[in-house]
């Protein structure tokens, strides 16, 4: 299948996993490679994504089951008419059932496939059994109709339920690739929040990484820069799951899979 466009979606039920955090690195990576993108923010409580990228991201109210279907119908109609090669969707917590229901009832996966659009699901292993069961259901529902990126976030979860489990093996079999989020100090994160408060608007991580913009102290901006670099290397390695076929950088063909992760200095010894 020649993929002409990509839709990135993180349809996971649990909150506080680092979904919006990860998106900041991903969109910065897209900008770095000059890949045009736009996005949708389905987190109607925080709207973090839209506030940080007001020119590129549109906000939606998911609401209840019926309202969410209407919102997602509007969203996917817009996305399918759009020409940007990548569309990034940030969802709120507890929305996985709404999203899967809408995907199924609106036949989104089949219609996207007809138009050369492929979805990539970003899934975050947690230590919560219910959340991980939902992840399994997502794989069961979508199968090989979408691509999967497993996002490990050691700051939020050890991933003991997932690592080495039959579920992880199934994801590998279905072509999933893994990345690991860097752990950023609470000091830098708090300073970023304070900078947003002072600026009276959301600040993207890309903006925060520039010390000359003086949103953050040099030392703290440096930590963001380090995290960016760490994530960019990983995105380069899984570019074939993030981009349309024509835009995939050559080197990303040789990508790591879930089982062969690069060293992660933020983990303890003997942790994968």
């Amino acid at each position: 299948m020649n993929i002409t466009r990509r839709i990135h979606l993180n349809p996971q039920s649990k909150g506080n996993l680092g979904k919006s955090f990860e998106i900041e690195f991903r969109t910065a990576w897209l900008d770095l490679h000059g890949v045009p993108w736009n996005g949708s923010d389905l987190d109607d409580r925080h709207h973090t994504f839209a506030s940080r990228h007001p020119d590129a991201v549109r906000s939606y109210q998911l609401g209840n089951t019926q309202e969410s279907k209407t919102a997602l119908l509007t969203l996917f109609r817009r996305v399918l008419k759009d020409t940007a090669p990548v569309h990034v969707i940030d969802t709120r917590a507890q929305a996985d059932a709404l999203i899967v229901t809408a995907l199924e009832e609106l036949q989104v996966l089949d219609i996207c496939a007809e138009q050369g659009v492929r979805l990539t699901f970003f899934l975050f292993p947690t230590d919560d059994t219910e959340s991980m069961t939902n992840v399994g259901r997502l794989l069961l529902y979508a199968g090989d109709r979408v691509d999967y990126v497993i996002v490990h976030n050691p700051a939020k979860s050890r991933g003991d339920l997932f690592k080495g489990s039959p579920l992880e093996r199934q994801f590998i079999e279905f072509g999933a690739k893994a990345i690991t989020l860097p752990a950023i100090t609470p000091t830098t994160l708090l300073a970023a929040e304070k900078a947003e408060s002072i600026a009276k608007r959301g600040l993207s991580f890309a903006e925060l990484s520039h010390p000359e913009a003086e949103h953050l102290e040099r030392l703290l901006a440096g930590e963001i820069q380090w995290a960016m670099q760490k994530m960019f290397r990983q995105y380069d390695a899984i570019g074939d799951l993030l981009l349309p076929t024509d835009l995939v950088p050559k080197q990303s063909v040789v990508a790591t899979n879930v089982a062969t992760l690069s060293p992660q200095p933020e983990l303890n010894f003997e942790e994968r």
Partner: protein
Amino acid sequence: MNDEPTTQLVRTGGGRAYHSRLEPFVDFIREQRQRRQTWKEIAESLRSEKGCSVTLQGVHQFYRRFVLRSRKPHWETQPPLNPETADRKSVLASTPQERPFRRPAADDLSLNNPLIV
């Protein structure tokens, strides 16, 4: 004995519709049955009151067929089709097509058991 070779009858359909001569008396027969009359008594009533001579078996078999037939819709009892709707070609509804795709077996999606060290 008929020595002539038998000829194969060709079913052509159509022809004049058959009607039992008891059909005009259906209501009469029903009324009699509801009064707990026997088939023999009904046959006599038909002959004496309606001038329709028939055996008790004839009445019984006719009425049994009538009751069985009335349970199902029958072309003779249906209202005539409106020619406009009869000629209309209906558009059949389209439903989502089954597109095969690969998915894992549900049994293969288990997680690690944290109780096992």
